[in-house]
């Protein structure tokens, strides 16, 4: 039983210690990263929001339809 309590105490000590060490390192790493990004990879000033086209096999119907309708139009107008 004494053993159990000492196990608990040691778990508490190491656990809290490790959590603090880990999150402290994360604070440093994150801050460094933010500085690095702000300096070397700044955001473009105007970023027009474009909906990314990410079909699984890439069957992008929008583009396809656009080109197709252009083609139809072209053929009709001949």
């Amino acid at each position: 039983m004494e053993n159990l309590v000492s196990e608990g105490l040691s778990l508490m000590g190491f656990g809290m210690g490790f959590v603090f060490v880990f999150l402290t390192l994360l604070v440093f790493a994150t801050s460094l990263m933010s500085k690095f990004v702000t300096k070397f990879l700044p955001e473009p000033v105007v970023l027009p929001k474009v909906k990314p086209a990410t079909p699984v096999s890439g069957h992008n119907n929008d583009e396809l339809l656009a080109v197709l309708s252009a083609a139809v139009h072209h053929n009709r107008s001949k």
Binding site: V19, F22, L23, M33, S34, V37, E43
Partner: protein, 433 residues
């Protein structure tokens, strides 16, 4: 007439035990809280309903094929199981004990014997094995939560990570409480049990289920119910503690607006966190790895359809089965126990201590920064319970100063608490797992 009797003897009404009645009532109360009081309904509705299913007499939904075979206790089946498990007795109870204590090979052999005798695993037992036994359920929930989490407020003010660290004190203090109760002979928790109970203080459902299923599966039902119930009760548990530990002046502190965080920073963050986990605590890698993966899908902007699915269809499907699986551990023989009371008691203590530790850490950080830049009310959000705890911080801030919007400031420690308790989970799995 004989058949009518047979039907009656196989009916629930004839076979129901007091424990099952009690558990069904407990589950109805859980459903009431979930539906009427909006206590984390997404989990507590499936858990409560699953708990009723698990307690249907004679249906054996939460039992393995072997347990069902032993329950119906045909002499030849018991004989066969006993010889497979290498035990002399054919008493049901002793066969079951031998089964529970036997190794994987014997388990496998016993399962084949039960299958030959026509018994099969209950539906809820299968749900549990697939969803929680394999760990996939909590991991996918974590992935979905990662895909829902915006680390912007945290990145704007990374020091709030310390608040997320401090609030994990609730976890370890509770571990100590649990071993203390055992040392005093009041309860009977092993160090594994104590660690699993402590994680309730992490105020994070999937982390609690993950750790409990690894360290103390027999306590999983009580731990999950406690974790989700207390998360729902955060608006009642935290405010008195927060008021007690802060002065009116502190609560009035207005924090300055958070800086803008760029998309690139948000993309880098989950990768940095993953590398750090990989280097320092591999035992937390599954949990935090899936979390970071979800978050990277969210932020990278090129896999929106995967991120959408992770946040919707997939997490919903997993939530349904995770809830039912947790419910399978609410069978009377596993739940109705003095230990459950101990868990419920220790759980609320864990929430309280975590809240206090977060607030005190915030006070300390405020002092160190001149006393007028950090409102200590955001410290309590470090326990996690996203986003309830952050809302509580905001509410108390508004009470003290109607122009004081703390929500975004509290979101930083709030998500830091998720990371903190996952790290704490990794440490405990490393040391006592």
């Amino acid at each position: 007439m004989e058949k009518v009797l047979e039907l009656w003897h196989a009916s629930g009404l004839y076979n129901i035990t007091g424990g099952q009645v009690t558990m069904i009532l407990v589950c109805l109360v859980l459903l009431y809280l979930a539906i009427n009081k909006k206590f984390e309904p997404l989990l507590l509705v499936p858990i409560g309903f699953g708990g009723i299913l698990a307690n249907i007499p004679e249906a054996g939904l939460a039992f393995s094929a072997v347990e069902n075979a032993v329950h119906f206790a045909k002499p030849e089946v018991l004989q066969s199981l006993a010889s497979t498990l290498g035990t002399a007795s054919t008493e049901p109870y002793e066969v079951l004990t031998a089964y529970n204590e036997s190794n994987a090979s014997a388990h496998h052999a016993a399962s084949l014997v039960a299958a030959d005798a026509g018994y099969s695993n209950g539906m809820m037992y299968n749900f549990y094995s697939v969803v929680i036994g394999s760990m996939i359920g909590p991991l996918l929930i974590f992935m979905g939560v990662g895909a829902m989490t915006d680390f912007g407020p945290l990145l704007a003010n990374p020091k709030t990570l310390f608040l997320g660290a401090a609030a994990q004190f609730g976890i370890f203090a509770t571990v100590l409480g649990a071993v203390g109760l055992s040392a005093m002979g009041i309860m009977d928790f092993s160090i594994q049990d104590a660690a699993a109970i402590g994680i309730i203080g992490g105020a994070d459902g999937p982390t609690a289920i993950y750790v409990a299923s690894m360290l103390a599966p027999q306590l999983l039902g009580a731990i999950a119910v406690a974790a989700y119930s207390y998360m729902a009760l955060v608006p009642l548990i935290q405010p008195p503690i927060m008021r007690l530990l802060t002065t009116e002046a502190e609560r009035k502190i207005s924090m300055h607006q958070l800086r803008h965080v760029s998309k690139t920073e948000k993309i880098f963050f989950p990768i940095i966190l993953l590398i750090l986990v990989a280097m320092l605590l591999p035992d937390a890698a599954p949990l935090l790895g899936m979390f970071c993966f979800g978050n990277l899908m969210r932020e990278c902007g090129v896999v929106d359809r995967l991120s959408d699915t992770a946040q919707n269809a997939l997490i919903n499907i997993v939530t349904i089965f995770l809830g039912l699986s947790v419910g399978s551990k609410l069978s009377a023989d596993k739940f109705l126990d003095l230990n459950t009371l101990g868990i419920l008691l220790l759980g609320i203590v864990a929430f309280g201590i975590g809240t206090a530790a977060g607030v005190l850490m915030a006070k300390l950080m405020n002092k160190m920064q001149g006393g007028n830049s950090i409102n200590p009310l955001i410290g309590s959000a470090g326990v996690s319970a996203v986003p309830m705890a952050a809302r509580v911080s905001n509410k108390l801030g508004l009470e003290a100063n109607p122009q004081n919007f703390l929500l975004m400031h509290a979101m930083g420690p709030n998500v830091a608490g998720v990371i903190g308790s996952a790290v704490a989970a990794g440490v405990m799995i490393k040391f006592v797992g």
